[in-house]
């Protein structure tokens, strides 16, 4: 990853009626994406349930490091507050309020941002978390048959297998490379760029997954995933 990309990742702001909810969502998203700024804004100034316009305005500015900010919300009026705050910003184009499921959207957006994705892609990652069919049974010719595909059987040596944190690590590893990677377990297949899809495979520890990569960095992608698995996903 280049220094520029790491210096300016897309940030996230989580707007909720509840301080606890906002903090919980931010905690979960940050676990998956440690270098992404995820700022929770929940509750009113007096500590009750509601949204605090002034606090949202501040959080938007604080979460931006130059690459923009994706804003997630829980219920209708949080959306209105978020939209007003964006409209009042000096440059509203730096901020994108996304219609996404709060938890899944925040996790998907955080992982995309961690991988250095630009604002429109981070927003799409959040929005795509809504109707995503996380895993699919492949019907098209499998990537094994693509001439330049690189593949490997990878044993999941850690106890929990492709659970949330390992899935996020794997997705981040892939995101940095110029390669399309799918992970297969049993008769199901997931795009390795999607944490939610990887988790949806429910691949447990002690089992093997098949990693298939194409593209310029295909070999490197497979090698890094193998290393990651050998280290037990740093669990």
């Amino acid at each position: 990853m280049t220094a520029a990309a790491s210096a300016s990742r897309v940030g996230l702001v989580v707007v909720s009626h509840s301080d606890m909810l906002a903090n919980g969502v931010a905690e979960l998203a940050t676990q998956m994406a440690p270098d992404v700024t995820v700022l929770p804004v929940g509750g009113t100034e007096e500590g009750g349930l509601g949204t605090d316009y002034g606090a949202v305005v501040e959080a938007l500015a604080d979460a931006d490091s130059g690459a923009g900010v994706v804003v997630l919300y829980d219920l209708g009026s949080a959306k209105m507050t978020a939209e007003m705050a964006v409209e009042s910003a000096d440059d509203p184009s730096l901020y994108k309020v996304v219609d996404a499921p709060l938890v899944e959207g925040a996790v998907a957006a955080a992982v995309a941002a961690q991988g250095g994705a630009p604002l429109p892609d981070v927003a799409s990652a959040a929005e795509g978390a809504a109707g995503e069919a996380p895993v699919s049974t492949p019907t098209r010719p499998t990537l094994h048959l693509v001439p330049d595909a690189v593949s490997a059987e990878v044993l999941l040596t850690n106890e929990v297998g492709l659970h949330a944190r390992p899935a996020a690590l794997l997705a981040r590893t892939v995101a940095e490379l110029d390669a399309d990677v799918v992970v297969r377990y049993g008769d199901q297949e997931a795009n390795a760029a999607s944490v939610l899809a990887l988790m949806g495979l429910s691949a447990p520890g002690g089992k093997s997954i098949t990693v298939v990569a194409t593209g310029k960095d295909a070999g490197e992608a497979v090698r890094r995933i193998e290393e990651l698995a050998e280290r037990g996903f740093d669990d």
Partner: protein
């Protein structure tokens, strides 16, 4: 004869008093179909408006409306904050720097407020929201004749009828929409507060 900044401030003081008086009623309405915070949120917002009008009284009607907007946006907490905030902000822009508001300006400000609520909340007539009170009020104000007080009085009458019309409606926007059919049989608290505010403005204008 038009409304000066002082008249607009007086109307807002009257509105704040009405919101205070009807706090419990708005809470009850919101308890039935929402999250029971509308009465308290409106009271908090208008209490903040009062204290800011005391400390920094603006010198034009437009500035008064803008101060109300920014105060409500930052203090109300629920959906009413962004919605009423946007309404007052658009009304403020519509009246501009005018030193006094005449009948036409008031009607135009109401139209701008409604446009703002449409843009912010994306609700339409029949969704069981404040739009059901504000829309007929704007229409009535546009065709009313005579003084500012008469215009606001016509708007308040129409808003009260509009608020009543929300009772049988099934909510399609806001927290009440989660109740589906069970939201029918209760007046929408936002429509009610809109009617209360317009009545307070009309009464204040009649006295000035």
């Amino acid at each position: 004869m038009g409304c000066t900044a002082a008249d607009v401030v007086a109307a807002l003081r009257a509105a704040a008093a009405v919101v205070q008086e009807h706090r419990d009623e708005l809470v009850r309405l919101d308890q039935a179909i929402g999250d029971a915070d509308h009465g308290e949120n409106m009271k908090r917002g208008f209490t903040a408006v009062l204290s800011r009008l005391d400390t920094e009284p603006p010198d034009t009607p437009g500035k008064v409306l803008k101060l109300v907007a920014t105060t409500l946006i930052s203090t109300v907490g629920g959906a009413a904050g962004p919605l009423y905030g946007t309404a007052f902000l658009r009304a403020s822009a519509a009246v501009g720097d005018a030193a006094e508001l005449d009948r036409d300006t008031v009607a135009r400000a109401l139209q701008a407020a409604l446009d703002g609520v449409f843009a912010r909340g994306k609700a339409v007539v029949g969704d069981k929201t404040m739009v059901d009170a504000l829309t007929p009020a704007v229409t009535a104000a546009a065709s009313a004749e005579g003084t500012v007080a008469a215009t606001l009085s016509a708007a308040a009458d129409a808003a009260e009828e509009g608020a009543s019309s929300t009772v049988p409606m099934v909510a399609r926007k806001g927290r009440a929409s989660y109740l589906g059919e069970r939201s029918a049989g209760h007046m929408d608290p936002g429509a009610r507060s809109t009617a209360l505010l317009l009545r307070a403005f009309a009464d204040a204008a009649a006295k000035s």
